[in-house]
Symmetry: C2
Subunit: 344 residues, 2 copies
DNA sequence: TTTAGCACTCTCAGCCTGAGAGTGCTAATA
DNA sequence: TATTAGCACTCTCAGGCTGAGAGTGCTAAA
């Protein structure tokens, strides 16, 4: 749809603007990237690109700035090339180190997640995000119940992936520790290998089917298991609000307010990342492509991490639309793979 | 040290500046608070107060602004009066509601803590902080060990206060679940009621004393208990960075950067709050009184919450030095008492 | 000791200006 | 026909100037 020359010039403009946030003019393009056209020619092409919606002008006599559509075009080109550029090579070494570090804290999954978001944000100066595995995707390993202070019970749920969840709730005080053990034994022997959510369904169906021999154990198990797995909404790990403030894109206080509002209720981000969690490879969402209102002025680069090819959660970078997409894509991709590897 | 008239005027200026961040002039003081002096008299007094270091002038022909010393004087006066003022009465009702809500989530201590910081920051527009009970202050209730995936063990530690901690670590693979149970039984029957830290000391001493009959159980218990309680630094709960951005005091981007840097590494705040944790009642630290460099432009109002008169942790508000101290003190005090009550 | 009066100082918003950068259009050129 | 040189035009931005407004310090009178 775009001839070769326009394509070159558009990409040059986007690249230039990404590396320095100043409107880029025709003369600058001819000087910096010696294509062999004169500024006047470039001007004509730029005018065309503006008509097509790839560029815009802050005011009549300023240079051009990419629109979201312009960034989109650029990112799609990147996809074609996909060669590790210079800065990515620099990062490679760091990421190797990082992978080793992750291995070291494999046992502490929450620690690992905050380490990951930290590394993401420090290296990129954007906001690093990671969503932990969701209950419907995590595999039951075992559950235990411990009586605690009168009629309370602590449930400890372990998943295959290494997530530990605990919850305190109140039960019928006639239920003894032995009863609890029996229930736990039953659940552990019958259901390991299923996902947390599946088990609930199976239990309910089972109780239904065998209602002739309506088993007290199963009834109790259903009730207690239900209480034990009703956790608060999965928290997501976010880091880098401070780093992002140093970007020129957010030198304006109202933009900072906007962005902190967006990441304050993590629910919004979770919703967006959920939608991306089934995509293959790295997804890039640019500015107003974003379905969520609060994030329409930001871009998101995301990739899923997996356990044995089953997608578990999402790693992402959130930054301004004027983002170094090449770098961000490389980072998110590499780190998602690192995490997947530690799960095996 | 200050005569009655100066005292009145100083407090009036501080109050006025707290309610509206504009330098206050002599004419304004005489109009707003009808003391019966003329502006000229007030001017003389203000000049004296400036010499004494309670006030300062942004520039020659502006009104006066309180210095940290001025705020300190004001807060000390407040202490004398300590009558609930109008806005505090308004809050009273909210806080009652809040106390009920806390009761409802008593079982989920972490949930309770984030609820508390949230309420603090939303109501005050300052930053709400709470430090959870520290290991050396929490009382051991019981510990359990569960084998998990090969040679790993999950330790679940319950405290009297309702804190649940878990940790995965690796052990000698010859240690069976029965061995682990024996160790847990031993610890649970012997040591409930002591603090987490005490127990470690007791175990070590005991092993030493009985080295003739060097008991395998105790040796193992020491080793495993040590691994189980070596948690990462206690996290503190912080909330309200977004709310604080809407204050006129932080309309400047560099101040926002400063403040987010300060609360980014929670360690800094933890250090400060630790120092305040033994104080009786509400402590107020104003601006450069602050021992920590990063917080010298902020004020902290803090109070400890207790379990049966033993101080457990600290609730605090962090805000600009131009803080509504009266309100902040009232809030922090009330909420600390609420929390203490839920522990009984 | 307090107050009225007055000259003085400082900030701030508004206005203007010239330099600089970049454009769009037109006419000439390869 | 596609490209380019030239030129007038537009817009921003920093800098300087100005008058209004607010508040002070000092002095002399009450």
């Amino acid at each position: 749809m775009l001839d070769d020359r326009s394509k070159q010039i558009l990409c040059a403009i986007v690249q230039s603007y990404i590396s320095k946030p100043e409107p880029v003019g025709s003369r600058f393009v001819t000087k910096k990237y010696s294509f062999g056209f004169s500024p006047a020619t470039v001007r004509n092409i730029m005018a065309d690109l503006e008509d097509l919606g790839f560029l815009s002008q802050p005011h009549t006599s300023a240079g051009r700035v990419p629109t979201d559509k312009g960034y989109r075009f650029y990112v799609d080109c990147l996809h074609d090339i996909n060669e590790p550029n210079d800065s990515n090579v620099d990062m490679g070494e760091f990421l190797c180190h990082f992978a080793e570090k992750l291995e070291g804290i494999r046992n502490d999954i929450n620690g690992m997640f905050s380490e990951v978001t930290n590394a993401l944000s420090v290296m990129s100066n954007y906001i690093g995000v990671i969503t932990p595995p969701k209950p419907e995707k995590t595999t039951f390993n075992r559950i235990d119940f411990i009586r605690y202070k009168g009629d309370r019970v602590v449930a400890i749920l372990l998943t295959e992936e290494g997530v530990i969840k605990n919850k305190i709730f109140t039960v019928d005080s006639r239920l003894t520790q032995e009863d609890l053990n029996r229930i736990a034994d039953y659940l552990n022997s019958e259901y390991s290998g299923h996902t947390i959510d599946e088990i609930k369904g199976i239990l309910v169906r089972k109780a239904h089917r065998e209602k002739a021999v309506w088993d007290k154990l199963i009834t109790r198990a259903i009730k207690i298991y239900g209480q034990a797995i009703s956790f608060a909404e999965n928290d997501i790990f976010v880091s880098g609000l401070y780093d992002v403030m140093n970007l020129p894109d957010f030198s304006d206080i109202s933009r900072i307010r906007e962005i902190s509002k967006a990441i304050k209720d993590k629910h919004t981000i979770l919703k967006l990342l959920d939608e991306l969690s089934d995509a293959e490879g790295v997804s890039v969402v640019i500015g107003n492509e974003n379905p969520v209102e609060e994030l329409k002025s930001l871009s998101v680069v995301a990739s899923t991490y997996k356990e044995k090819d089953r997608p578990m959660g999402v790693v992402a970078l959130i930054g301004p639309t004027r983002m170094d997409y090449s770098k961000a894509i490389y980072m998110v991709d590499t780190i998602a793979k690192c995490i997947s590897r530690t799960f095996d």
